[in-house]
Amino acid sequence: MDSISFASQLFQYLITGITVGSVYGLVALGFNIIYNSTEIINLAQGDFVMLGGMSSVFFVSVLHLPLAISIILAIIFAFIVGALFERVAIWPLKNANQVTLILITLAGSLILEGIVMLIMGKDPYTLPYFTGSKTIFLFGAAISPQYIWVIAISAITVASMSYFFNKTITGKAMKACSDNPFAASLMGIPVKKMILLSFAISALIGAVAGAAITPSLLMEYDRGPMLTIKGFAAAIIGGLGSFGGAIIGGLILGITEALFAGLISSGYKDAASLAILLLILFIKPQGIFGKE
């Protein structure tokens, strides 16, 4: 192949946009789970992604465990870190206001980054591809199999989260807490426990995303804040608190960036995604799927 047709180029941009967008979507999903139960914007959300990637790397390259086991361990580890984070940093402050709590999550983000930097250093790391690195060619576009994994894992995560929140008792209880914590506590739902769970689950989702992207996009200790910003933008576009909105918001952001970079200018693609964010805030400040 010596050149590439316009249609293939467009297809390539879309695939990239969807992959990057689903990662943004997963970060946004984590934001929403915590926001729903506590109304806190968790600024350490991107660092949970970094933690998932880096702890997988740790299990694979330092402890020499097989990839699948390492990733499962990394996800469990992130779940525990998320729970600990809530217990140590959020739970003791009974009557703190929103801003204080948000600042605490920012501190949490810096601490996580610092610890990972001390243990793993400042170099970027990679993981083996889940299923080989042989590129798939489809309609003239080259697709890394890892991208298909990222998209599939995002879809599975979203499906299992919506099952959890709509069909299981615990999930429904968490939803009830977000609707009205006082009424929920009167119905015998342990609200504090649900908040603990929401942090643990967000960390888990972050870790899933982190483990999925590390093989193709590498991971280093300070990747978190960028993911937090993009994920937050995705959550705002989709509507804070809406799960479907998180994924849609992520995809809109990812695809806009890819198309803008491909068709107009790669230097200004972040400006394009921020313009989309401003546009949505202007037309529908509560986000596409946000409640009035």
Partner: protein, 392 residues
């Protein structure tokens, strides 16, 4: 009351004792030569400052073990600016006004260097910067060399010219460039654009990406359709590994050669690229490739000595950046040896120094050139079997 009295007595005794120790020391040796240094040892640029500081510590120990400079022990007062411009300025003011050092070297970053060079002029003190931008040694408004400021790293223009010279030899005249939107990438891009006509090269695609971007397949897809014969990537950090991988994955490797900037010069990058880096070309300072230099190269011996002692002491490979600090410090030591601790004489000596064999090249300074290097301070290298090899 008695307790305070007892404590006071203790402190008094300590002062007497320590001054006695100092005094005896002072009598037995000549007065030390004190140099001042500032690096970004921590913070975002710590990957520069850390090896620089380690190199300085190593060299000072080696020099003093060999009896110092003409019998004077060497002392380097080194501060960390935490990659912060304000902090760096305070450090330099302190080195000049409080520590009364003879000459200065560092800092690690171009931006920080530009913010402190006026101090060298104001206090008439020689400064050798370890950062790359040509603006550090040349006043861009007048085009003249800054009187008191020198620098040891090669300029990006030299890396660009080395790449273009190689391309011309290979018959390449249509290229695509992709650069990171940081100071390093923007400066590299402007040099790539500036020197292309001189080497009869046409830039058919000019793409960019952000410092924290993790996917460049969009930009590379666009480049794929541009008909370029070669691709030049200008960045530092993990992004250059991702570009390398996606160049392979997207099938660009079948259409065009990939050239990286000198920022790619760490073997970790080859490993992280997982085979995709095979056949990547880049210009490297000779200090990075000491082991594969021919024995006839005059730089081989000092480079190998540096590599061995650094690896022995720190149990990690040397980096290109430590080499810049090596060159700055040894140049100052050479000047001190020749002219003694006189600021104006040191400056004058450095300005006329010729044929100085350093880690990053053979320096030939002149009143108009305070860097003293040419594009031949770089060697074109290709990745072959997971290691560097000299490209022909």
């Amino acid at each position: 009351m008695s307790k305070i009295f007892k404590n006071g007595l203790l402190v008094f005794a300590a002062i007497i004792l320590s001054s006695l120790i100092f005094a005896t020391n002072g009598y037995s040796k000549k007065k030390p030569y004190v140099l001042g240094a500032d690096f970004s040892i921590t913070g975002r640029a710590s990957f520069l400052g850390d090896p620089e500081a380690k190199t300085v510590t190593l060299l000072v120990d080696q020099i003093n073990k060999k009896g110092g400079i003409n019998g004077h022990p060497l002392k380097v007062i080194m501060y960390d600016d935490e990659s912060n411009t304000t902090k760096a300025r305070l450090n330099f003011e302190r080195l000049i006004k409080k520590d009364h050092v003879i000459a200065l070297f560092g800092p690690s970053l171009s931006g920080i260097s530009l913010a402190v060079i006026d101090l060298a002029k104001r206090y008439r003190i020689p400064l050798i910067s370890c950062a790359a931008s040509y603006k550090i040694v040349v006043n861009p408004r007048t085009g003249k060399a800054r009187k008191w400021v020198f620098k040891t790293p090669q300029s990006d223009s030299m890396a660009v010219e080395k790449i273009y010279e190689f391309m011309k030899k290979k018959g390449i005249h249509k290229i695509a460039i992709i650069t990171i939107t940081t100071g390093f990438g923007a400066s590299g891009r402007s040099q790539l654009l500036k020197y292309a006509p001189k080497y009869d090269i046409k830039i058919v695609a000019d793409e960019k990406y952000g410092p924290k971007d993790t996917d460049m397949s969009v930009q590379l897809t666009k480049i794929k359709g541009s008909g370029a014969q070669a691709l030049v990537n200008w960045s530092i950090g993990p992004s250059q590994v991702i570009v390398t991988r996606q160049w392979k994955q997207l099938g660009l490797s079948k259409q065009m050669l990939l050239f990286q900037s000198h920022g790619f010069g760490s073997k970790r990058n080859i490993k992280l690229a997982e085979g995709a880096a095979e056949g990547v070309y880049l210009p490297l300072g000779k200090v990075n490739i000491g082991r594969i230099l021919p024995a006839s190269d005059p730089q081989k011996k000092p480079i190998m000595a540096y590599i061995r002692s650094y690896e022995k002491r720190y149990h990690q490979p040397i980096s290109s950046f430590g080499g810049h600090a090596y060159d700055a410090l040894t140049l100052l030591v050479d000047a001190l040896k020749a002219v003694g601790p006189n600021r104006a004489k040191i400056r004058n000596y450095l300005e006329h120094k010729k044929g100085y064999i350093g880690m990053h090249g053979i320096f030939n300074f002149s009143p108009t050139d305070h860097n003293g290097l040419t594009k031949d301070a770089f060697e074109m290298v290709v990745v072959k079997n997971g290691d560097w090899a000299i490209a022909h």
